[in-house]
Amino acid sequence: MGRGHIEAEVRALITDVARVDGSAIGRDEDLVERLGIDSLQGLQMLAAVEKRFALRLPDEDLVRLHTIGRIADLVERLQQRSDS
């Protein structure tokens, strides 16, 4: 799955969890500042990412994934790692 596709999927999950238009958010915009997403919604979003892409985000990254770009990059890296 390419990065563009991953980003689009992440945006769709944000739309579902936070009930906002994920397509209108910049790749590097802070989701907490931009959307007012609190820690609870953030966790629900990351859980949705894990479920959608069938992977486990490293625990140490859970407190740092505040932008669509960071989430998509990490998902891409984890997918590449599992493919190789």
């Binding site: 906002v20 609190d38 966790l43 629900q44 859980a47 625990d59 859970l62 407190v63």
Partner: protein, 438 residues
């Protein structure tokens, strides 16, 4: 008539060591930030009760400079919790020195009316319902009275009830909206200084009125997260189920405070999850039954302590996180309580934890008992009523042991390893219930 309603918002800790700890402990500050960033629903309700024709302005104290001239109003209303009451009095004194009449109201004023009256032209006791419209009318006629008593019952019944003026929040950066569905709590815990002190009995808003308010609040805020400003939402399970069925179609996410008895009702839990409830804050107070002895008149909490872990699991298994609240320094507590809370939290899988120090708020049963026993460190330690500063001598430990134990417990609970562990546990629950949640 131009009326300024000023909220004394913000949460402060006086103990310098705890304050500095808070800067580096994300979960400790997160709930504090949420609370500090919520608008004053009480003053929005006062605005809603204001007779038509008045020009009402909502302000927060952070917007008011200590040096610059104050914004002119014909009448000023100030509401404050205990910890900020000193600043509220200073602001009131500044306005009165300008010749602007000041009305003080809110929980602290209702508990300490004579003290507040020294800084105000008029005070409002209990709810604003039944008092504020009369006060504004009297003021317009030049016959403002020094004291008004609002309703303690029937506050949600017409003609006294009014929808809060959520429109006054337009353009303000809150990420949550707040709506109240109930006032008071039947548990009547000794330490409580919440809305039960201004009500004569538990008051609950009719479901249709609550839903209409939520719609009104959401209409002016670009957010889908709602916080119910209740002290115990689901006392009446029949009302609760009707409310949950009515709020579900709104498609929002929301938070509230309630008691642990919701775990006893499977149907209620399912409705909670389906309605968009994402977190409940529950006052567990102490990790075991012995610690809860005598906390409430009926020992209601003590009777349920043995089932706390099972109850938390049942609630969280629906994807609803529990914010578990503990109070340290109760008269049943020895220095062993800090490790006991830490162990309980570790075993419980609680996503969020809030630990506070027992605080004798003014005119509560706890305050009077500690005063009788000569255990208050100061007679009026209002600026230290922050829930984190010690204001009395604990029964089975020293003040220093309580302060040190709290610091140790914060370090145990709010370090990144524990923080991530709790997050991971919650995410696994969310994934298991994902079809329901997303």
């Amino acid at each position: 008539m131009k009326i300024g309603l000023i909220a004394m918002s913000g949460v402060r800790v006086r103990n310098a060591e705890l304050a500095s700890l808070g800067v580096t402990l994300p979960q400790f500050v997160s709930r504090g930030k949420v609370v500090a960033s919520l608008p004053s629903l009480g003053l929005l309700t006062v605005a809603g009760l204001t007779p038509p024709g008045c020009d009402v302005h909502y302000r927060e104290v952070a917007e008011i400079s200590r040096e610059d001239p104050l914004e002119p109003f014909d009448l000023v209303g100030i509401s404050s919790f205990t910890a900020q009451i000193g600043e509220a009095y200073q602001l009131a004194d500044r306005y009165r020195a300008m010749g602007v009449p000041v009305v003080l109201g809110g929980l602290h004023v209702s508990l300490m009316p004579d003290e507040a009256a020294a800084h105000a032209d008029s005070i409002v006791l209990y709810g604003a319902e039944g008092a504020w419209p009369r006060l504004v009318d009297d003021f317009g006629r030049g016959r403002l009275q020094p004291r008004y008593e609002g309703l303690r019952a029937g506050v949600f019944e017409r003609p006294h009830y009014a929808v809060p003026r959520f429109d006054l929040l337009a353009g303000r950066p809150y990420n949550r909206v707040t709506v109240q569905t109930s006032r008071g709590c039947p548990l009547n815990c000794e330490f409580c200084a919440a809305s039960l002190r201004i009500t004569s009995s538990y008051q609950q808003k009719p479901v249709d009125a609550a839903i209409a308010e939520i719609r009104a609040a959401l209409a002016v805020r670009a957010t889908s997260f709602l916080e119910l400003a209740d002290d115990n939402t689901f006392v009446n399970k029949k009302w609760g189920k009707a409310f949950l069925r009515a709020i579900a179609p709104l498609g929002i996410r929301w938070f509230t405070e309630t008691d642990i008895s919701i775990a006893d009702d499977e149907e209620l839990l399912d409705l909670l999850a389906d309605s968009g409830c994402r977190q409940v804050l529950v006052g567990l107070e102490s990790p075991d039954a012995d610690g809860l002895d005598g906390l409430d008149p009926r020992n209601w909490k003590k009777a349920r302590a043995g089932r706390y872990l099972e109850a938390i699991d049942r609630i969280q298994s629906r994807g609803i996180s529990v914010n578990g609240c503990f109070i340290v320094g109760l008269d049943t507590h020895t220095p062993a309580v800090f490790e006991a809370v830490s162990d309980f939290v570790s075993r419980s899988g609680l996503l969020e934890v809030q630990v506070t120090v027992q605080t004798p708020f003014p005119n509560t049963p706890l305050y009077h008992r500690l005063a009788r026993e000569g255990r208050l460190l100061e007679e009026r330690p209002w600026d230290r009523c922050t829930l984190f500063d010690v204001t009395y001598r604990p029964k089975h430990m020293t003040v220093e042991e309580l302060e040190g134990g709290l610091r140790w417990l914060f370090g145990q609970l709010y370090n990144e390893r524990e923080f991530v562990k709790r997050k991971r546990h919650y995410m696994e629950i969310v994934k298991a219930t994902m079809s329901r949640l997303v």
